[in-house]
Symmetry: C2
Subunit: 506 residues, 2 copies
């Protein structure tokens, strides 16, 4: 990092003033040390360089530095140069972002007065947020039961990176380095249009599709077009905390209806539609989070009828479409005759690895146009390089091959994990084997999940303490346990730890 | 794309029903053709495969297909297979996303009834947006005068891609494929903390910083924490349309104060602060967009005093810090004693190439924590691969070297472009040579900019028609002209086209 502070700007000389120039220089530097701009141990430019920068005689600079050294603000280290002193006479910084220094070390002169800012904002924020982003603390070396993430070890990341490499060699790649469309790169849009039509029975054109950075961005964009403060949304309960938070942050009223083993309760949805104007219904047909149930084909058709009758928009969050073990997936509502009521959001981040942030949203053309514009105020555009590489893997079949392979492996892992839960933890946990997806919804009636999580961490297993799934006032004793990212021996170990912890907790 | 529609789900057999099974199969397929799920020309699985999928005798399948062929729904192509007929007896699809087909081609059965949805949503959207995202239409082969973008031809993208390649070979790279923090990867956070402290005189720790996907995301996140519907914001006028739109979409009242050659008018800001509670002041110190003026050091200090007195948060959008030709940059307000009032947003996308979507936001620790959480509802996290590669280039000095090189070249380009404007277009255009940045603010008193833009496009030059800079009711006759991305011969050509067009327009 060869760049230097702009000393010629820091040091302001008033030639018409009464103060000698060398003292003006010294005072400027003292000011900046006190403000924390010039930090302890920082090397200053040499006298020759400073003289040239400031357009002054070198002797003036020398006089200034002597003054500073005499006052104890700087120190000369032989054969190395001149540095801001480590042992400063007096400092009063610490009123900007809080001068307590940070993990990056090296800067941060400790404030000598109680910093009124000390890392605190001096303005009002209306936004508050006490919900946990996650309640699974990671400890290095521990096995980690996640919320239902893919196994990154299976993903064809070598092919993905090779694709970026070979694309970047093409002359046509240059165009993708400039600003592009907030709807995504054209190449991925056409590829994905055909892919979704072929695999999910959609019948869309490119104009009905935009690329997002995942299901979350799709949900957010759709909701921000559909909801204004006070609008009513219907969600399933128990539900997905991130989606509910999104609707709440947009000022909407979140109406919760029960979810049973067929999915969201249609008659409860209808009762609400009769009572008040519902702007949005949010469903996760494969598989409702956290309970993992699949929305039945019958209910899909009933919901479409309701949406049409009451003019309710549906966000169909089909994040788990690719992963089924006992049967094929049910085709999305977006593939049926939905009269323009369905916004279909999905992701490829669970298909490859979470770090490849690519999802999509399909919907009516005018809706997609507005959503793309709305996107440009939160995030100008996606990652062209990633989008192109993914399009390449979709076209050459690598994505399909990877899905087939993952489904085979996750199938075995689901069976193994559910077998362990039944055999090893039988008397403590209730669950229904999910027909697809990457997680099992488990209920631990009477178990102190916080204590369990804490005990497990000490024995090599990181697992949710339940806060994320059981918010205040709604205790399901529930945990959603991801099985897909753990191989069978890791599963054995994880469930063994749980068994040992539960024994001690009796 | 080897994946297939789930025929075993599409075709539902009711063995207890009165209808013969082969007819049930045929009727299912007809239903899905009519719904558009099975589209014209789609190949169906072979009889053997279908029989296996459905668990039926192959003769039953054959009978079903004969029925379908007789009715004209499918056609057999010798030695190829069985396909949904191109010439369908009757279809009524087109009520989902609009069945008019799309640019990607191949699907899209044309609707035979006027599709009630025809690409239109059947629900209410409160969000509308008539502002242009850009008013510069691109024509292949034309020279493009942008809003002030970097020249992608100069960027060390080979080094960037090599960095991704070599990082991806490391075993430690695997961890970055999983979900990460919405605040950014730790490696880039520490690198950037030191870099910002060293180059911009900030004195922050890692806890005061988060990675964004550019200035726009930083502005959006900060504003969404600071503003609620009805909050008051102050911006400079003329101003930056994307920022103003962001504040408006959050429901805030946007108060415009004049910008002169020293930056935003401080006394106008103070007058507003006295009259009403101001939540946020938005400034672009280097360089105010669109006019390119630099906020003077005196005004920076005055604004900090005002912010402290009236408890106003300041978003300091310093997108152009790296590019100065006549002097060094002025240190950010965030480097001064700002009492925790300044949120500092910046970007590296203009430093490398726009497609590398990486920016940052520095602020008080509690603010940054909330902002990272707020980010997770619009976009879980950034791109770990890109962030790591950029951190590598920052650490090994490649970014600094690239900045130095770009500044040298852009300096020449600014001088050349301003020279051309003076010499060739002297009597038509007014401008002040900007001290830095990538664009010149030009005024075309009495010129029909729409006509100019249209005429230029026909002669090989794409240029704004002014809509973006001169919204209804505020005609500055202004255009912001990017000079950095055009080499001198391209500039010669561009200005020549403008001269020729203007001659004809007299």
């Amino acid at each position: 990092m060869a760049q230097m502070l702009p000393f010629d700007r820091l040091i302001i000389i008033d030639r018409s003033g009464d103060t000698a120039v060398y003292l003006q220089i010294a005072n400027s530097i003292i000011h900046h040390i006190r403000m924390g701009v010039l930090r302890r141990g920082l090397q200053l430019p040499g006298t020759r360089e400073l003289a040239a920068l400031l357009g002054l005689n070198r002797n003036t600079i020398k006089a200034a530095l002597e003054e500073l050294q005499a006052q104890g603000w700087i120190e000369a280290v032989p054969r190395k140069g001149i540095f801001v002193a480590h042992d400063l006479p007096e400092v009063r910084v610490g009123r900007s972002f809080g001068g307590r220094g940070g993990a990056a070390g090296g800067f941060g002169v400790e404030g000598s007065e109680p910093a009124m800012a000390a890392g605190r904002a001096n303005f009002e924020m209306w936004y508050t947020d006490d919900d946990p982003i996650t309640d699974r603390k990671r400890h290095a070396g521990n096995i980690f039961i996640d919320d239902g993430f893919p196994d990154i070890r299976l993903a064809p990341m070598d092919l993905f990176l090779r694709e970026i490499r070979s694309l970047s060699g093409l002359p046509s790649f240059r165009q993708y380095m400039q600003y592009g469309s907030p709807a995504g790169t054209d190449f991925l849009l056409s590829t994905l249009t055909t892919y979704l039509n072929d695999t999910r029975g959609l019948h869309i054109g490119k104009q009905h599709l935009m690329i997002t950075r995942g299901v979350q961005m799709g949900t957010y964009l759709a909701a921000s077009l559909l909801l204004k403060p006070g609008s009513h949304v219907i969600v399933g309960e128990p539900g997905y905390a991130y989606a509910n938070k999104t609707f709440e942050k947009l000022g909407a009223v979140v109406n919760r209806v029960p979810v049973d083993e067929q999915g969201i309760d249609v008659s409860a949805v209808e009762a609400l539609c009769k009572r008040k104007k519902i702007a949005l219904l949010y469903v996760m047909p494969h598989h409702h989070s956290p309970t993992t149930v699949r929305l039945s084909p019958q209910r899909r058709i009933q919901l479409l009828e309701l949406a049409n009758r009451y003019r309710v928009a549906i966000i169909e969050d089909d994040y788990d479409y690719d992963f089924h073990y006992d049967s094929s997936p049910v085709l999305p509502m977006a593939s049926l005759d939905h009269y323009g009521n369905v916004i279909y959001v999905g992701t490829l981040s669970k298909t490859l690895v979470p770090a490849v942030r690519i999802g999509f949203m399909a919907g009516p053309e005018n809706f997609i146009q507005l959503a793309a514009r709305r996107r440009s105020i939160i995030d100008f555009q996606g990652d062209a390089f990633m989008e192109l590489a993914l399009a390449g893997l979709l076209r050459n079949g690598a994505v399909s091959r990877h899905i087939n392979k993952s489904v085979r492996i996750y199938h075995q892992r689901r069976d193994h994990f559910c077998g362990l839960l039944s055999d090893v933890l039988r008397d403590r946990v209730e669950f229904v084997r999910p027909e697809g997806g990457m997680a099992v919804w488990t209920r631990w009636e009477g178990v102190d999940l916080r204590a369990l999580s804490e005990a497990a961490a000490g024995k090599g297993l990181d697992i949710s303490d339940g806060t994320f799934y059981n918010p205040p006032g709604r205790n399901y004793f529930g945990l959603r346990l991801g099985f897909a990212s753990l191989d069978m021996s890791e599963q054995d170990k994880a469930v063994g730890v749980l068994r040992d912890c539960l024994k001690k907790m009796r």
